[in-house]
């Protein structure tokens, strides 16, 4: 009996195996194995592992000098090894086939159907153009309505603050540490940064550059008579071109051949003539540097004698409308 069962199983098994499916047709062409390339890939994966392990090691190793550099090196090399392994796999271990495919086609029938769909859907409208215009109008209005809250982002129509500066007659000039400038300590051949006393400094109307020339060298316009007591001149430190701080002072070491003393902005090299009231000598700035009239009080301290000769900061459409306000 046992034998019989065994025989049946065997026969059934054979019978079942007989209609054996053929091996499916290959989708990817075959190629010869390449053990050397495999070895290289193994080596690269090994190296990547070592480099990757080095990353946490360097990370926790406090005493190591140049930790950033070693971290970058370890991580970079680990990634580079994996990259190399991928490329070896691509070039040597997998089959590189050349396939062809049709470029995409256009679908004129579908295009026409879409057009027809839209057209026919609108059949029932009698005043199509009017409806479209009304709809577009409503859409535009709604769009504007939805943009309205954006006006809260900033004082969009409030231009007067652009003319405001903290300077007015009598305000003392102080240095970065808050010390009052004395007229006598302003020397020729260098420049000083000054701020208004007791005022917010982080605004474009605040900072000044103060320089001293020989009174005989001054060529200020007549209207600015007395603005530079003892040859001391004060200008806004903010360039009228693009709003950078004017951080360079060009002082000729040999006046007969070298260019005029000038204030220079390091951003785009707008160059302003200090002797004649801040006019533009070179560079892109389109209007002169605003000058601040100075006076020396009886104690010898430098004070503003008024506000600037023009609006401070980079130019805008209203910059010439009126002067700065205190």
């Amino acid at each position: 009996m046992r034998w019989l069962v065994a025989l049946v199983v065997l026969v059934l098994g054979r019978m079942r195996r007989r209609p054996r499916l053929e091996e499916p047709e290959r989708l990817v062409p075959t190629g010869a194995p390449d053990r050397r390339a495999e070895n290289i890939v193994l080596l690269l994966f090994g190296a990547a592992t070592v480099c990757a392990i080095a990353v946490p090691v360097v990370y926790v190793w406090d005493a190591i000098p140049n930790q950033t550099q070693f971290l970058g090196l370890a991580l970079g090399l680990a990634l580079a090894c994996i990259s190399a392994a991928c490329i070896v796999i691509a070039k040597r271990l997998v089959v590189t086939e050349e396939l062809e495919e049709e470029y995409g086609l256009t679908h004129p029938d579908e295009e026409e159907a879409v057009e027809q769909l839209v057209d026919e859907s609108g059949d029932r409208f009698t005043r199509k153009r009017l409806l479209v215009v009304a709809g577009a109008g409503a859409g535009t209005a709604l769009g504007a309505a939805m943009l309205t809250p954006a006006a809260s982002l900033g004082p969009v129509f409030e231009m007067s603050s652009l003319y405001k500066t903290p300077w007015r007659r009598g305000v003392r000039l102080v240095d970065e540490a808050g010390r009052v400038f004395l007229a006598d300590e302003i020397e020729e051949g260098t420049f000083y940064t000054a701020y208004p006393e007791h005022a917010q400094r982080e605004q474009m109307g605040a900072p000044l550059v103060v320089v001293r020339l020989k009174p005989a060298e001054l060529r200020l316009p007549d209207a600015r008579y007395g603005w530079a007591p003892g040859g001391i001149l004060a200008y806004s430190k903010i360039c009228t071109h693009a709003g950078c701080a004017i951080a360079l002072y060009r002082k000729p070491t040999f006046a007969p051949v070298e260019p005029k003393p000038a204030l220079v902005c390091p951003c785009h090299y707008s160059t302003f003539d200090v002797a004649d009231g801040g006019s533009v000598l070179f560079g892109p700035a389109g209007r002169p540097l605003p000058q601040l009239p100075l006076l020396v009080d009886p104690a010898g301290q430098l004070r503003a004698a008024g506000n600037f000769s023009g609006a401070v900061g980079p130019s805008w459409w209203g910059v010439r409308r009126h002067g700065p306000r205190s």
Partner: protein, 447 residues
Amino acid sequence: MIRRTVRYLDERSGGAPFLRKALRYVFPDHWSFLLGEVALYSFVILVLTGIYLTLFFKPSLATVAYHGDYLPLRGREMSEAYQSTVHISLNVRAGLLIRQTHHWAADVFVAAIVVHLLRIFFTGAFRKPRDLTYYVGLLMLILALLEGYLGYSLVDDLLSGMGLAIGYAVLMSIPFVGANLAQLVWNGPFPGGNDFESRMYIAHVLLLPIAIGMLIALHLTLVASRHHTQFLSRRATERKVVGMPTFPAYAPRSLGLAFAVAAVLFLMGGLIQINPIWQWGPYHVAEATNGAQPDWYLGWLIGALRLVPSFDVTVGNYTLVPNAFWGGAAFPLLVFLVLFLWPTLERRVTGDYAFHNLLDRPRDAPWRTALGVAFFTWIFIVFLAGAADRMFVLFGLSYEGQVWAFRVLVWVLPVVALLVTKRVCNELLRGEVVEVRRKLVEAEPAA
């Protein structure tokens, strides 16, 4: 195992046919086709490193006094934004590596996009049916420039403050509405309200990256749906694309490139210092430094701002166009306008409205190549002019002399480039005709 995974997915998405097609999608092979991928992988690194940085960075202009380890800054008043960036750089372990990698990745990202754009332009890959893809790419370039600018502006170090002042001035300079827009964006006159920092931040870490990400998806979808362009070869024609399939041939290649890009970026991030902000110090309105240069991709704008001669366009006391508008706004607008209009213009002028799946070699379209070389030369000269102050420091060339020379060269050199390129293209083509004739003549006796 593979079968079970695929079955699982197919039962739930019906995606097996798509997957099979995707695995056999054909990629034509040419090194220049990888430039876009370099940009893509740089973007991935940017997102990953950027996420890490957000975990430490504080987008706040609240003033604090520095009490960290870096002695030269001890006791200095600075914003929390700047302080936290110094902290990331000097105190967070691996922070400097990630920050520098992020910065380098941004530079590489834009560079890859620009070189990719040049490849697309000079091979005529922007022609129908891929002009839409090209416009999406241009849009991404604009967003990438803005994203990079915001990225280094966020830090509130001296350099970023100077950059923001210039950005503010350029916005102010727009005729009729500039000052209003600037007040709106900055919430008041420069340096603006404290919430300006958080506005930049949300734009830099959320709005722009998502916009760029979505445009990337659109760009790739369009590329895939119309298939890749290719150069003419024995088998490649206007009708048939020839190349290797995604799987198994192309995937490991592309993966290799991805890891290579990551490797280079992390190596640069670790080994090559970039923007050491702790040396610049915090920004104050009254401070600026000489020799300041922005990241390379803004060099063309600083060059343009520097080259424009001194003038404001005024009507009475109404300033119609302040000077900064020309270099900072009009110039880039013109450049992008030309780039956006080029496919249309070329179609109109040549009357060629056909589909183009085969690429031109630059010589095949002498006029396009010559005009393109002239156009990019124009931009490049402006870019070089932005480095005139460095050339003064390095070579002692007078700055003012250089600027005058550049003001002339910027108009002369493009014309020279145009004529030379046209000639070279024509000569190359003629050489090929001669070659073909000679082969025909040599073949004749045999026939």
